[in-house]
């Protein structure tokens, strides 16, 4: 039989993160969002709580938990705010995870402890101005291996777009996917770690974004940027396979985050519907409102079940490509639909940035885009069903 109950320690983690989000994040995050400011102090406290080390073993400074635990934390954070949730998601599943999964023992020991502690953040440079999901077709960034006096260096040239956590004052490195050669007709793609401060690595200005305004997202450019040969992550030519693996996991994490946003909309509306009056009755007494909130709760519930299922498969080492894509598609739809309904229930206040539902509305859209658009998810599902172009 299937049991969707969280284990006691997962439930305790959930309650802890919920209390943290309510007490530490909720009171101040609106201001950071409005000022488009990265909330360093909140991130530091998330680090103390151990959130950045959740799925990593203790020997690298992690918490000895798993990917499911990370997703539980993401859902609870996103119930209150998506900027801090995506900062955690990107830092762990895109920043630190490739180093843990594909790095050598030496690379893990060198970079993971600071990342697990949340004292440093890492970015993952895949998308380029000319393409994200269209990899390797749209990829232009190159890394050329040059040897001088027997010492090898990668010389990186190119531009990466929309890279989360890449320009904070605590960013330590970005893992970049680059073309390192050609195998016949095909491009050879590899992952290379570029530490912050490397010559020729230029961090662009922050984007002005529609949502996720308290998270750090930038364009990065590399001009004859040289790093040691040893900064190659995993095997040369395995970059494409590596990022497919990272994105399968990442989709589950984004689904959990989207579920949190969808649930946050329900939470806000439940409160508002019992406080606000219209036409001589509390909002909750209007059946139109009741039905809307019931639909919202149903969407959040379904979204949660899809990511629970995908995360459970991931942990069991089962194929997860289809289920991860379904979870991401369903949960991001739920987030978008719930954000639209929640702002509608709040009326004029829903259009104000100072109300959380206004932020939810702005934050929901990118969930249908980041880490593979909804169309890409449908493509993945169709392929898993055996449909061929």
């Amino acid at each position: 039989m299937i049991n969707y109950q969280l284990a006691p320690e997962q439930e305790e983690l959930r309650q802890t993160v919920a209390a943290f989000a309510r007490d530490v994040v909720a009171p101040v995050i609106g201001g950071f969002y409005e000022r488009e400011e990265f909330p360093y102090e909140i991130v530091a406290r998330m680090g103390k709580l151990g959130l950045f080390g959740l799925p990593f073993p203790e020997e690298y400074g992690g918490m000895g938990g798993d990917y499911f635990a990370l997703c539980v934390a993401l859902e609870e954070l996103a119930r209150v705010d998506s900027s801090v949730a995506v900062t955690l998601e990107a830092a762990v599943s895109l920043g630190a995870m490739p180093i843990y999964r594909f790095g050598s023992e030496e690379q893990r020991r060198r970079w993971l402890p600071d990342l697990c502690a949340g004292e440093r953040l890492a970015g993952f440079g895949l998308t380029e101005p000319g393409g994200g999901s269209d990899i390797p077709g749209g990829m232009r960034t190159t890394a050329r291996l040059v040897k001088e006096d027997g010492k090898g260096e990668w010389v990186v040239n190119g531009t990466k777009a929309f890279i989360t956590n890449s320009g904070t004052s605590i960013t330590s490195l970005v893992t970049v996917l680059a073309i390192t050669g050609e195998k016949g007709e095909e491009k050879e793609i590899s992952s290379i770690v570029i530490p912050n401060g490397t010559g020729g690595f230029i961090i662009g200005q922050r984007y002005s974004k529609v949502g996720w305004c308290a998270s750090d997202t930038r364009e990065l450019s590399f001009t004859d940027c040289r790093v040691p040969e040893g900064n190659l992550l995993g095997e040369r030519g395995r970059g494409y396979a590596q990022f497919l693996h990272i994105l399968d996991e990442g989709r589950v994490a984004i689904a959990a985050l989207a579920t949190g946003l969808a649930q946050g909309c329900v939470d806000e509306c439940l409160r508002y519907a019992t406080e606000r009056e219209a036409f001589g009755k509390r909002l909750e007494q209007h059946q139109a409102i009741q039905f809307k909130i019931a639909d919202m709760a149903a969407r959040a519930h379904v979204a949660r079940l899809t990511w629970y299922d995908a995360a459970a498969r991931l942990l069991a080492g089962q194929p997860v490509k289809k289920e991860a894509a379904i979870a991401k598609l369903v949960a991001s739809n739920a987030a978008m639909d719930n954000a639209r309904d929640a702002t509608q229930i709040f009326g004029g206040y829903g259009f104000m940035n100072e109300f959380p539902v206004g932020r939810f509305y702005r934050d929901a859209k990118v969930l249908e885009i980041g880490e593979g658009t909804s169309e890409v998810q449908r493509l993945l599902i169709a392929r898993q069903l055996g449909l061929r172009p």
Partner: protein
Amino acid sequence: MNIVVCVKQVPDTATERRLRPGEGTLDRATPDGLINELDEYAIEEGLRIAEAHEGEVTILSMGPAKAAESIRKALSMGADKAIHVVDDGLAGSDALATSYAIAQVLEETGFDLVITGSESTDARMGVLAAMLAERLGVPQLTLASKVDIDGTRITVRRVSDEGFDEVEASLPAVVSVMEKINEPRYPSFKGIMAAKKKPVRTLSLADAGIDADQVGLAASATEVVDFAARPPRQAGVIVKDEGDGGTKAAAFLTERKFI
């Protein structure tokens, strides 16, 4: 240093709380039991003192089986071990009877420092620390907003109506701490996982050497004679400002002795 922190599980203050008809005792069967919020400051203070003075923190809780959840949370925060006194014979114990039972356990375990919250959010008696100190024959330093330990000297800032007093004593002693003395930590996931392996001793009345005739509802010195639900809140008074709003508001507050 052997530090014992007393922790009580209480009903969530955000939910509706009921008294049991007949006994007038709190219905503890509500689904949401939490660590008494003020005890979280006591746990945090205990952990900080233990970290600074190479001590060990033991959580001591008396309560029904359900209180084990709160004990587990205290262990997740970083306490080393716990003692849970659980026995049907304890149900209905008032502060005096509770202090007797807890003192019995403390006599047996020994301690350098006992820390409690300043009161529980359910009964709000705020007398347990003083009663414990009296029964154990050690100094009581209650309502502390700051605690310093130097060897066997303990100094606290004791909050008073006018400000605070500096109170000093020698260990062993009992301290009760005020809200906001510190910022209680959140348990980390590692702490949550580690708590599963930490020892919790469960003691019945007999195990703890507690005389059954001195605890429970029957042995309690206080008795709830009667209780009634709080009457529904009255509508507020609306004062119309006709240029003298300030005066009217001041008169209103003066009449009720607020100013």
